[in-house]
């Protein structure tokens, strides 16, 4: 009896599948009806009953309100179906009812960890629709704030993912640095999150005088803080056992599924829109793209940590080369004239009044503009019908598309690996559900 208890597990899963007579891609196996079946058939002994449970919307490890219908056999995941929409806020519908400059606060609340990126995606798209060139200082400021936001987004990911894998103290260290970054945002844009700092035509306010010095201190401090995180986790036996060779998906399969960002780079493909299709001022900086080899959880972790270092390098270079000059374009049809001018010149008053009441009209046309957000390619499609309100705003959210690879990562693994895969995938449910 002891002998067949210890037989090879691949054999069991293999027969487990054939016994249930369905391939994993088909609609969900319903445990009730399977359990009802007589399992005493030749294949599966009764001891492994198939169970379908909800790792539902309210779960500490789903990083938001993602619901996973998981079919389990003991600890092994047989099938997995993500169900989304529990945070669907109808943002794209609301944007169709707002004038262009009112859309920005909606758009940045989608993926609430990379709000500067979504502002840039929308403003960049509209600027290309109206062929408006933003001044160099504005594009440098945008790059600085976006890279700070990338570091902050990776910090929140590192804190919560290490929390999921049991390294609870990482949460406190990462949020300590996050608060340092949010102080910088508060200094330059006035608010910690959802700052609405970018405007079509540039940024809406120049950075205050002390900002450069504070940013330099932060950039000096950040690299050795990253060393501290790596010292904590890199050779941590539990972390290695949990992330090494877990959730590996081949590069071709990732590309087929449209996965981009750190997941794709961890699999060995150096695809980063900042290098491939440089936008804003990324062409002026030299930074490298970290690339993994195997594409397992550990590579995804190392790629993101190295990306944080690269972002610090970019910020330092951007800060050194910050050009003087206007921080917002001077085209009165689309950008508010300076306040003092409104008091004196009549045209400025007319422009001001027109922009504030009805907002600027964008000539009919449509454009798709994609940038590199911390989770992958973030694309914004704006369809303008000539009125002051966009006719359609659609965001191609990286988490929404990357979530399709989650099934390939987790089916066949254990539940603990499922939690680790979800943590390393870093989905933000605001972006997934829009």
């Amino acid at each position: 009896m002891a002998d067949d208890l210890l037989r090879d597990e691949a054999d069991l899963t293999e027969r487990g599948y054939s016994r249930l007579g369905e391939d994993p891609a088909s609609p969900l196996v319903d445990a009730a009806e399977v359990a009802g079946q007589d399992l005493e058939g030749p294949g599966l002994e009764p001891e492994q009953e198939v169970l379908t449970i909800n790792m539902g919307p309210h779960h500490p490890a789903t990083h938001g309100v993602l619901r996973l219908i998981v079919t389990l056999q003991g600890e092994r995941v047989l099938d997995l179906k993500p169900v989304m929409g529990y945070l669907h806020t109808g943002i794209e519908k609301n944007c169709e009812d707002k004038s262009y400059w009112k859309v920005i606060p909606f758009v940045e609340r989608m993926d609430y960890l990379s709000y500067f990126f979504q502002m840039e995606a929308f403003c960049g798209c509209v600027e290309r629709l109206i062929d408006l060139e933003i001044p160099p200082r504005a594009s440098y400021l945008r790059v600085i704030h976006m890279e700070l936001n990338r570091i902050m987004s990776h910090l929140v990911w590192l804190g919560t993912s290490a929390l999921d894998l049991g390294a609870i103290s990482m949460f406190w260290y990462c949020f300590r640095e996050r608060d340092a970054i949010l102080d910088l945002f508060e200094m330059s844009a006035g608010q910690r999150m959802h700052t609405r700092y970018f405007q079509v035509g540039g940024v809406f306010e120049d950075i205050p005088t002390g900002f450069g010095q504070k940013l330099r201190d932060f950039c000096a401090l950040m690299p050795d803080r990253i060393d501290q995180y790596e010292a904590l986790l890199d050779r941590n036996e539990i972390f290695l056992r949990r992330t090494r060779d877990v959730g590996v998906v081949s590069r071709e399969r990732l590309l087929e599924l449209g996965v981009t960002g750190p997941l794709l780079r961890a699999a060995g493909d150096p695809w980063d829109l900042r290098k491939a299709d440089p936008y804003l001022a990324y062409g002026d900086f030299d930074f490298s793209i970290p690339v993994g080899t195997v594409g397992d959880g550990y590579d995804r972790y190392r790629v993101r940590l190295q990306e944080m270092r690269e972002s610090v390098r970019i910020i330092v270079q951007a800060l050194e080369g910050l050009p003087e000059g206007p921080w917002i374009a001077d085209d009165r049809k689309y950008v508010l004239p300076p306040r003092d001018e409104v008091a004196t010149s009549m045209e400025a008053l007319i422009h001001h009044f027109k922009l504030v009441t009805e907002g600027y009209r964008v000539p009919p046309g449509e454009h798709y503009y994609a940038i590199e957000s911390p989770r992958g390619e973030l694309g914004c499609f704006v369809l303008a019908d000539g009125s002051a309100k966009p006719a359609r705003v659609h965001f191609r959210d990286p988490s929404f598309v990357n979530l399709q690879a989650f099934r390939d990562m987790s089916v066949g693994g254990l539940i603990a690996d499922l939690i680790q895969n979800l943590a390393m995938l870093d989905p933000i449910l605001g972006g997934v559900d829009r």
Binding site: A2, L5, L6, E9, L12, A31, A32, A35, P46, E47, Q48, E49, L51, T52, I53, N54, M55, G56, P57, H58, H59, R67, Q73, G74, E75, L414
Partner: protein, 119 residues
């Protein structure tokens, strides 16, 4: 006679009183507002469709048995320090070593058979 057992009694009494307080106080003083949903199993905020009792896989059973086996061994090793100190004889030490080695052999057997790695 009673003198030597008094601390044990006091200790047991305290344990019961404090334990009982924690267990019962909540039920006695907490407000009671039952509603049909509160009784149902909590499955991440959704009604759960698990109707039948769940039969656990053999791996859980194996691990549980091995744990109990080696846990009892540790319990037996508790008085080792006192015994060796009190008797000061090598014989007791050797006897305990034999006990430990026997269980070590059992552990190695179980390990080589592969019962420890998860299925």
């Amino acid at each position: 006679m009673l003198q030597s057992y008094l601390p044990v009694l006091v200790f047991a009494g305290l344990g019961i009183v404090v334990g009982g307080a924690f267990a019962l106080l909540n039920g006695v003083t907490g407000p009671r507002r039952p509603n049909p949903i509160k009784g149902q199993p909590y499955e991440c905020g959704l009604p759960s469709h698990i109707t039948r009792t769940f039969r656990f896989g053999v791996s859980f059973y194996m691990i549980a048995m091995l744990f109990i086996l080696f846990d009892i061994e540790v319990v037996f090793l508790y008085p080792v320090g006192v015994l060796v100190h009190a008797t000061k004889s090598v014989f007791v030490l050797v006897e305990i070593l034999v006990f430990v080695v026997l269980l070590l052999v059992a552990l190695i057997f179980v390990w080589r058979r592969g019962a420890l790695d998860w299925k």
